[in-house]
């Protein structure tokens, strides 16, 4: 007799605890409009607010005069664990006629980058930063190898 009693008790307990869970789920089903938590990504592109520190891709900061702060010291290249950055330098002639090392091409392999932020930390002149762009898909792999310094850009006056 006690077996049947226990059995019915078990079933009753299961139904009761199931109803408790269903009540909660039902509450969310009815109140979902107030507590919408998922973002519909392609639709919210205009209102998407990414934090300022978001690691999207490395960019070289250019000001309005098309000038950057990169001295070509290769600190970022040495800091990178994956060989993502390749700095090609050239020698400029200063007005005094001396040779001065300067940046020629800042090659950035986005396909190798893991967004670890170590290059940004290593840069002594804060010339590079992480940008908020994150849609990196391309149809050709060669498009992922980028030159970060804009054509005609030169180093800002006074940056050593």
């Amino acid at each position: 007799m006690s077996f049947i009693k226990n059995y019915i008790g078990d079933v009753w307990g299961a139904v009761k605890s199931l109803a408790a869970g269903m009540k909660l789920t039902g509450h969310y089903a009815l109140h979902h409009k107030k507590e919408k938590i998922t973002q519909q990504y392609p639709d919210n592109k205009d209102t998407l607010n990414l934090p300022e520190r978001f690691r999207g891709e490395v960019v070289l900061i250019h000001d309005e005069n098309n000038e950057h702060a990169c001295t070509g010291c290769t600190a970022c290249e040495l800091a990178c664990p994956n060989g993502t950055i390749k700095i090609i330098t050239k020698f400029d002639l200063t007005p005094e006629g001396k040779k001065k090392k300067a940046l020629d091409t800042f090659v950035y392999h986005l396909d190798l980058c893991t967004m670890c932020n170590l290059c940004i930390e290593a840069c002594p002149t804060s010339a590079i930063k992480m940008d908020q762009t994150f849609e990196h898909s391309v149809t050709d792999r060669s498009e992922l190898i980028k030159t970060l310094n804009k054509p005609g850009s030169k180093i800002r006056e006074g940056v050593e």
């Binding site: 408790a20 869970g21 789920t25 520190r53 990178c80 170590l118 290593a122």
Partner: protein
Amino acid sequence: MYRQSEIVNDPSKTSLLGDEGTDMIINVGPQHPSTHGVLHLVITLNGEAVKKVEPHLGYIHRSIEKMCESLTFRQFIYVTSKMDYLSSHMNNHCCAMCVEKGLQIEIPPRAQVIRVLMDELTRLASHQLWWGALAMDVGALTPFFLAFREREMINDIMEETCGTRLTMNYMVPGGVMADLHPNFQKRVHAFIDHFKRKIDEYDELVTDNIIFQNRTKGIGYISKEDAISYGMSGPAARGSGVQCDIRKLYPYEVYDKVQFEEVIETAGDCFARYLVRMKEMKQSISIVEQLIDNIPEGDFQAKTKAVLKLPKGEYYSRVETARGEFGVYIVSEGGTTPYRIKFRSPGFSNLSALDHMTRGQKIGDMVAIMGTLDLVIPDIDR
């Protein structure tokens, strides 16, 4: 761990039926949807009862230990976030601590508190995901969405301060990479207030559910002695009554200054391991609450040299991740890169007890046992 069984090796016995003619060998994974990640289990079944479980590893082996040997002491830390991706802060933390031990740097108090705060938030996020995944494993879908709702708030906090959501690379030798975001305290307060209310829903939905209790109580028993023998650690071992919380045994950073309890359950079954994690979440909330308003002012990073060179010697440090004890062992020859690195990952030792736990259990219970072990496969394979 990796050994080919005689059944698999002997061609006369590779048929679907095993040696006695009644055993059936089933491959679970590496792409089976009910497993976590790319874990391959060769299960010998007698009817519905599991006779033997043999994990075959190597599907996501990336030779991280070898890779670290060619990276400098600043660079190798980022790789460890890709091991146990759910407790990446703790992995980074342990590596940074080990390098600091070698360099004998004292990190500023502000950095210590930030590190502990980040660790505990990561632990919360990890346990939330585990809770959702476990419930999904045993057949309930809704908890998964509820867990992700709360986890999203932590991810947003991380994104704002660290810049990324999963593999942070925020801990650097000497402190942390950047200072806390001005919004950090406000958002953590909002999260704690929200989560304290929602954690009762977790209990209502899953813990108190009779069906869930029947599926976990008395399932996957492992005694305290066996748990120690298998080298288990973390919540999985604490469910069997083993005192193994590194935060209590070998306190690091500010863990000796905050009040929290080491959660111990003695039943040793799936439900005990479940309860340990649920109670641990409450302890983590309490740690975060104690620290969030008492972050000391000051530097977030100690001054370090641009090129780090560890003196010749061997260094070991350990932390408590969401899964158990994580250890880093560095052998340095005095150069800029480590001579040898060994990681002691909690998932690997916990997985070794799976065979012992599942023996004699039903195949359906195996999924619950795996779920309560909280396996992260990249952590096991490395």
